[in-house]
């Protein structure tokens, strides 16, 4: 559980640290501090949707950290038989990196109101992601064909479980991607989708990071 604890420790320290700073040097029982009533005072200078996304990322981090903790604890028991991951995963990783780059470019283009680049970037990001997901399915099939079933060994079970979970989170992101892309293709201008594009970009970068950690762990064990 150390792994999960460290992650949660960092998250909790950030939150509590921020909250503590709100409380220091304040004397709430004093009424009518004129500074307190300035517009926007005390509210973070961030769109609410972004705060929700960051909170959601914290939740997903907690989820994966706990799975990895379980992985590391289960690994130590005697019947663990390391799995040789399909080479295809390297290609898939490349596709996910490309998707992330596409989103990053889309984000800058959206800020500068370059509609054609936004359209192309969104489509490219989506296509790379779909190819990644299909690639993961093929990797599953290769393993299955090689006789590495889910019930065969906990290492196999964790492989299927973790990749499935990561894929499901991407599919969730694809829903927002789908809505944004539809808006852009049906005539929305490039800047009006900036927030959605930025949320997608952050989420895709995050899921790329998760995948790299997962992949490194799977490879090294």
């Amino acid at each position: 559980m150390t792994f999960a604890l460290v992650f949660l420790g960092v998250i909790m320290a950030t939150i509590i640290g921020w909250l503590l700073r709100q409380s220091l040097n304040t004397q709430p029982w004093e009424a009518n501090d004129p500074l307190e009533n300035q517009p926007g005072r005390g509210v973070l200078n961030v769109e609410p949707a972004k705060i929700a996304l960051i909170s959601f990322i914290a939740v997903v981090t907690s989820l994966f950290a706990l799975f990895l903790s379980a992985y590391l604890m289960r690994m130590k028991l005697g019947d663990w038989n390391p799995l040789t991951e399909p080479k295809l995963l390297w290609l898939n990783t490349g596709l996910l990196v490309l998707a992330s780059i596409a989103f990053q470019l889309t984000r800058s283009a959206s800020k500068r109101a370059q509609l054609p680049t936004v359209k192309a970037g969104l489509v490219a990001g989506g296509v790379c992601t779909i190819l990644f997901l299909l690639g993961q399915l093929v990797a599953w099939q290769q393993l299955n064909a090689g006789g590495f079933f889910m019930t065969g060994n906990p290492a196999n079970a964790f492989f299927y479980l973790l990749t499935a979970l990561h894929g499901l989170h991407l599919i969730g992101g694809m829903w927002v991607w789908g809505r944004t892309t539809t808006r852009v293709l049906t005539g929305a201008d490039a800047q009006s989708v900036y927030l959605s594009v930025e949320l997608c970009t952050v989420y895709w970068h995050y899921l790329l990071l998760v995948w790299i950690v997962l992949f490194a762990l799977l490879l090294s064990t």
Binding site: L20, N32, V43, P48, I51, L63, A70, L77, P154
Partner: protein, 594 residues
């Protein structure tokens, strides 16, 4: 583009009032309607769980009397009672119910930041409740694994409900977590970003601090339950061996091998202990506001109360294994977790002292909500003190499997939060419905519940010291149990049935006062917080009419010297017509904080 706070661009936001019956009351995105939907659903399942506990008590008090209570049923009742009460009643009611109702009103917002997601949160919660309750009607019935669902027994034949019950339970939990996450993201974002002008974090009522921290705990801790539920479902349905060791069941070697039941316990309690505070922190917050309002005094040590909430939230993640002293883990772990467990008593004790000091020399009005709030201080102190017993490894080992533990956790996280739930429902009932409840019935409800819970749980501590084991369907002939233990069990059962029946008074009061209660007016308790300052009671869609409120002071300006009323609402600016009142700090000479 610079970001403009929600409260500062209120006039630019279009508000669409719901027009049809369905969008107003069923598929509603209004936080108040969603709060009521959450609360009614939670109270309904709570009632089911209450009936289950009554059946368990019938068996324990009068064994061999009720033929329809078989051992199988008994274990199913235990499991469903525990899970429903902890998760589907208390968590849902505090965060889905009170959180939804109070957050936008107390911070001076028109609604949650994401109303659609808020609505989805309720409907997914409702589906999870339906999935859970449907397990009563499937072959084999609901799971009887105990609310902790420990493998391997939870999914092996011999335990009730291994056919369908356990799967439905795990699915219901996973759905609940999805619902909670949707709601929780809303609560956090709304409190951070939708506060009215002047409502700094340190001017928030403590109710919201409790709900805020509990939401953060929930968002980070529920994934642990999700992880264990997913892996257990796979062990059961697919045949993986995450938790299942090599095992022989009923003479047959099963296909499992090598899994670790202890791993499940770690994951479960990694969620399970923060869960205690997910329920307790909102209760702490709400009770602080109740005590302050009805004692007509500012809460003692506001900043310290906030810090205590933060400290408890942080510490709650490093005490989980005190639920596992008897699991055979490394004794050094026990030493570590006993230490952290005892440390968490410090901020908790600070809170208890501050509540008592808030009452000290207050102008106490013994209204029904106040009685429940004071009752909470009693039950929580008692439950907390036995927690110090059980936090120590050497004391826990002999007591762990006895009724002492049952008494402890029912006092500390059953009765105490429920006292706050009742107090809070009575307190906000006039705002929610616009009418007062019947005070006489409320008093009956309080005294029967308060004294009754002592009649139930005090004797259980004694039974625990005698060594009476918990979880048993029937005790049989046991030499170490004196006759008095059996008599006590009967007395406990009778008390439990009386207390259970007394809840009907509460329900009757809630329902009949909707029609017969006298009009409450907009601020019957003369409270300072924003939800009592709405232009309409009950508040209409959008809460605030044309103008959002602006906040000028903290939530606890009660009995301020030199002011004509004994309370100053948060949205009242300084009044220059009162001599000496605008000269700086009116609140600083009547009980300091921090």
């Amino acid at each position: 583009m610079a970001y403009v706070a929600i409260a500062d661009r209120d006039h630019e936001i279009e508000h669409h009032d719901p027009t049809t019956f369905i969008t107003k009351y069923i598929w509603s995105q209004d936080h108040k309607v969603i709060a009521i939907q959450y609360s009614v659903t939670a109270l309904f399942v709570g009632l089911v769980a209450l009936v289950l506990s009554g059946m368990m008590r019938l068996q324990l008090g009068f064994p061999d009397t009720f033929a329809f209570i078989t051992p199988t049923y008994y274990y199913q009742f235990i499991t469903m009672h525990g899970m429903i009460m902890v998760i589907f009643l208390l968590t849902a009611l505090f965060l889905g119910g009170f959180g939804n109702y109070l957050i936008p009103l107390m911070i001076g917002a028109r609604d949650m930041v994401f109303p659609y997601m808020n609505m989805m949160s309720f409907w997914v919660y409702l589906v999870s409740v339906i999935v859970l309750l449907s397990s009563f009607f499937v072959p084999g019935g609901p799971t009887g694994a105990g609310w902790t669902l420990y493998p391997p027994q939870a999914i092996l034949p011999g335990t009730p409900g291994t056919e369908w019950g356990i799967v439905l339970m795990l699915v219901a939990l996973a759905l609940f977590i999805v619902a909670f996450t949707m709601g929780g993201l809303n609560y956090v974002t709304t409190i951070l970003q939708a506060r009215a002008r002047g409502m700094t974090m340190m001017r928030l009522p403590l109710s919201l601090w409790g709900i805020f921290m509990a939401t953060i705990l929930g968002l980070l801790a529920f994934p642990a339950l999700f992880v264990s539920a997913v892996m257990m479902t796979l062990d059961k349905a697919v045949g993986t061996s995450f938790f299942m060791p090599a095992i022989t069941s009923m003479g047959q070697q099963l296909d499992y091998s090598g899994g670790s039941p202890i791993l499940f316990q770690h994951l479960f309690w990694f969620f399970g202990h923060p869960e205690v505070y997910i329920v307790a922190l909102p209760a702490f917050g709400l009770v602080s506001d109740l005590l302050s309002t009805h004692a007509r005094k500012n809460i003692f040590g506001y900043r310290m109360m906030v810090w205590a909430i933060l400290a408890i939230g942080g510490l709650s993640f490093v005490v989980w294994a005190h639920h596992m002293y008897v699991s055979g883990m490394n004794p050094y772990f026990g030493f570590f977790f006993a230490t952290t467990t005892l440390i968490i008593a410090v901020p908790t004790a600070i809170k208890v002292y501050n509540w008592v000091l808030t009452l000290w020399q207050g102008n106490i009005r013994l209204n029904v909500p106040m009685l429940f709030a004071i009752g909470f201080i009693f039950t929580f102190t008692h439950g907390g003190l036995t927690g110090i017993f059980l936090g120590n490894v050497v004391v826990d080992l002999p007591l762990s499997d006895t009724y002492f533990v049952v008494a402890h956790f029912h006092m500390v996280m059953g009765v105490s939060p429920i006292m706050v739930v009742f107090g809070s429902i009575y307190h906000w009932y006039p705002k929610i419905t616009g009418r007062m409840f019947n005070k006489t019935l409320g008093l009956w409800h309080f005294w029967i519940t308060f004294l009754g819970t002592y009649a139930i749980y005090l004797p259980m501590h004694y039974l625990g010291f005698l060594g009476v084991p918990r979880r048993y369907f029937a005790m049989g002939d046991t030499a170490f149990m004196p006759e008095s233990a059996f008599t006590l069990n009967q007395a406990i059962t009778i008390s439990a049935l009386i207390v259970g029946a007394a809840q009907l008074i509460f329900l009757y009061n809630l329902i009949s006062s909707l029609r017969n209660g006298r009009k409450a007016g907009h601020n019957p308790w003369q409270a300072t917080t924003l939800e009592w300052q709405t232009p309409d009671t009950p508040p209409k869609h959008g809460n605030w009419g044309h103008e959002l409120p602006e906040v000028h002071r903290w939530a606890y300006d009660y009995s301020v010297p030199g002011y004509h009323d004994d309370f100053i609402p948060q949205n009242v600016p300084a009044d220059p017509s009162i001599p000496g009142y605008d000269q700086g700090n009116p609140g600083s000479d009547h009980g300091t904080s921090s």
